[in-house]
């Protein structure tokens, strides 16, 4: 008798573990109804935006209130937020996917070997042939020189910050200045380059490739320093100590132990920095000028790069006669630029994965 009362007592206090549950197809059902509502609104002439907004609102409210009725208000809030999150996600992804799709769709037919091997000299301006050979070569030259300037300075600065200057005043000042540099708008880097070369060359309107490279290296430097610094910090002090304890001098420890351990991350960071500046336009507009043929001399004369080519060609796309061919050229150049930048990104990530120090057996 006693035990029976006890067990009844226990059951009394245990809240039920099951509650009202939404049917599994509830979101689908609500979606169908909402789309139908939207379609109806469209027929009544609300316009496409009104209809989509209405359907979305109907879906959010419908699902939330249904959940509230079946599962309670806490669950309803959860459902509401989850729906809003996914809405934000979709809203963000639609334009980004549209961008890639548009560029590929409009650029792909233009990317022929002829387009890649021709420049803009001669009859190209009259709508015959024409291509981006000079711009590709210009991009390669200007970006490479920028990398050659920025990478050694960046790596040595990071080495100074992590290995030598740890915590001293100069290191703090430099870290602060690197932060400042991160915030330099790209167009300001271009203004610096032109201001510098006005003074250096005495020419009121200097046009030369090396100026563009200097502007780009200014933009690369903080990225390179930052990523190398992070990577060097990740190298455990244990390894440095192990090396010192073997009687290895400090600089050899850095070159032979610290840098090889961090090399994957460094290559990734540097490649990403190159990819970023390869697509820069603003800093180059002012100093590179307009070129229609490849110019391999970085110290004299205008140079064309892909982004600058795209921007400068844009003005021609509305021309009554040559508009269409310029439009094609712009999209082709845009697609090729994206391919370059994305490949650099992929290479960076693959290197990061493949050359990370092996820990497996």
């Amino acid at each position: 008798m006693n035990t029976l009362i006890d067990s009844e007592h226990t059951v009394d206090h245990l809240e039920p573990l099951t509650g009202g549950t939404m049917p599994r197809m509830a979101p689908g059902l609500v979606a169908v109804v909402s789309v139908a509502l939207g379609a109806l609104a469209l027929l009544l002439g609300v316009g496409i935006f009104g209809a989509v907004a209405l359907a979305w609102l109907a879906y959010v409210l419908g699902l939330t209130f249904w959940t509230r009725a079946v599962e309670g208000s806490r669950k309803a809030t959860d459902t509401l937020v989850q729906t809003l999150m996914w809405s934000a996600f979709v809203l963000a992804m639609v334009p980004l996917v549209s961008l890639i799709w548009t560029v590929v769709q409009r650029g792909a037919p233009v990317l022929t070997p002829a387009f890649l091997n021709d420049d803009m000299s001669g009859r190209a301006l009259l709508g015959v042939g024409g291509g981006i050979y000079h711009a590709i070569m210009g991009t390669i030259m200007v970006t490479s020189i920028a990398a050659v300037i920025a990478i050694p300075i960046g790596i040595f600065t990071a080495i100074y910050l992590v290995e030598y200057g740890k915590g001293n005043r100069l290191a703090k000042v430099i870290t602060f200045l690197v932060d400042v540099m991160t915030g330099i708008p790209s167009i300001v880097a271009g203004l610096f380059a032109i201001a510098l070369f006005i003074v250096v060359t005495g020419d009121p309107l200097p046009r030369l490739g090396i100026g563009g490279s200097i502007a780009l290296s200014l933009l690369m430097l903080p990225t390179v320093i930052r990523s190398v610094e992070e990577m060097l910090k990740l190298v455990p002090d244990d390894l440095r100590e192990a090396s010192y304890a073997l009687g290895v001098p400090r600089w050899r420890t850095i070159v032979k132990v610290v840098l090889p351990t961090a090399v994957a991350g460094i290559v990734t960071g540097v490649t990403l920095a190159i990819a970023r500046v390869a697509g820069e336009t603003a800093p180059l507009l002012l100093i590179l000028g307009t070129a229609r043929v490849a110019n391999w001399n970085p110290f004299s004369g205008p140079v064309q790069t892909l982004p600058v080519y795209i921007f400068q060609s844009l003005g021609q796309t509305t021309h009554f006669k040559y508009g269409p061919i310029w439009t094609d050229r712009v999209w082709g150049a845009a697609l090729f630029l994206i391919i370059i930048v994305m490949s650099l990104n992929l290479v960076a990530r693959i290197v990061g994965k493949a050359f990370a120090p092996k820990t497996g057996r």
Partner: protein, 259 residues
């Protein structure tokens, strides 16, 4: 080739903070000397001052004298890098170089110092050092594999092989077994016993049984009081230290009444 070490009136500072005060001792060649004591009493600091490894920490400095067979380590003409080549060190956590294979790890001390050597000579050093560290039989078939792939105990023996590959005079060990399991620990202890015939060994340990098992002489470090610098309380043969110590504090520590 083993050397003896003399320490006299050694004070060690971190910036303005006096970490260890007034250490005097004589470490005999070809013997194992253990440092014991509670945490934070400066025994690792003293160990690191024996091959100038504490200088890696900014602001650390030393007053007093450390001599290895008559050669003062803190003379202005002495290069700390050269000191560390002659006085090797094994750390608390095994730290093989992750970018190198087992083979390259053993040779790291020679290679990193850009020492030229023939292939046969290098093979010789690797085999001798790995045999010396009791690791040869376990890894001889996979010398090209990464050193990080070994177990913790094997990694620690690899680090010992790496340290003895440069033929140091003295081997310092900073709690070499504290990150290891009991079986790996006993393998290392056996190894220390064998290495003693060729090297002077100084070992810091938290484990009193270990000190009793492996060492010939023991130094007991303690803090004078909380916030005060550490100092060497007693330095004696291990036999005497554990059976009948001179100092009351030592006896209290060894019998487990504090620390």
């Amino acid at each position: 080739m083993a050397k003896s070490i003399d320490v006299s009136d050694l004070d060690i500072y971190y910036g303005d903070f006096l970490a260890v005060q007034g250490v005097n001792m004589h470490v005999r060649a070809r013997s194992v000397t253990a440092f014991i004591g509670p945490s934070g009493c400066g025994k690792s600091t003293v160990l690191r001052s024996l091959n100038r490894m504490h200088e890696v920490i900014p602001g650390a400095r030393v007053e007093g004298k450390v001599t290895v067979d008559g050669q003062s380590l803190y003379d202005s003409a002495i290069d700390p890098v050269a000191v560390r080549r002659q006085i090797g060190m094994v750390f608390q956590r095994p730290n093989p170089f992750p970018t190198m294979s087992i083979y390259e790890n053993v040779l790291a001390g020679n290679r990193l110092n850009a020492k030229k050597m023939k292939k046969s000579e290098a093979d010789d050093i690797v085999e001798r050092s790995l045999k010396g560290a009791n690791l040869w039989n376990e890894v001889k078939d996979r010398l090209a594999k990464p050193g990080m792939g070994l177990s913790g105990g094997q990694q620690q023996r690899l680090c010992i092989a790496r340290a003895i590959a440069v033929e140091p005079q003295v081997l310092l060990m900073d709690e070499p077994c504290s990150a290891l399991d009991p079986i790996s620990t006993s393998a290392i202890e056996d190894l220390i016993h064998e290495l003693k015939s060729d090297y002077t060994i100084v070992i810091v340990t938290h484990n009193m049984q270990q000190a009793a098992r492996v060492s010939d002489e023991t130094g007991f470090f303690n803090l004078k009081a909380a916030g005060q610098p550490g100092h060497l309380v007693e330095f004696n043969s291990t036999q005497k230290m554990f059976a009948n110590p001179d100092n009351e504090a030592t006896e209290a520590y060894i019998s487990g009444r504090f620390g």
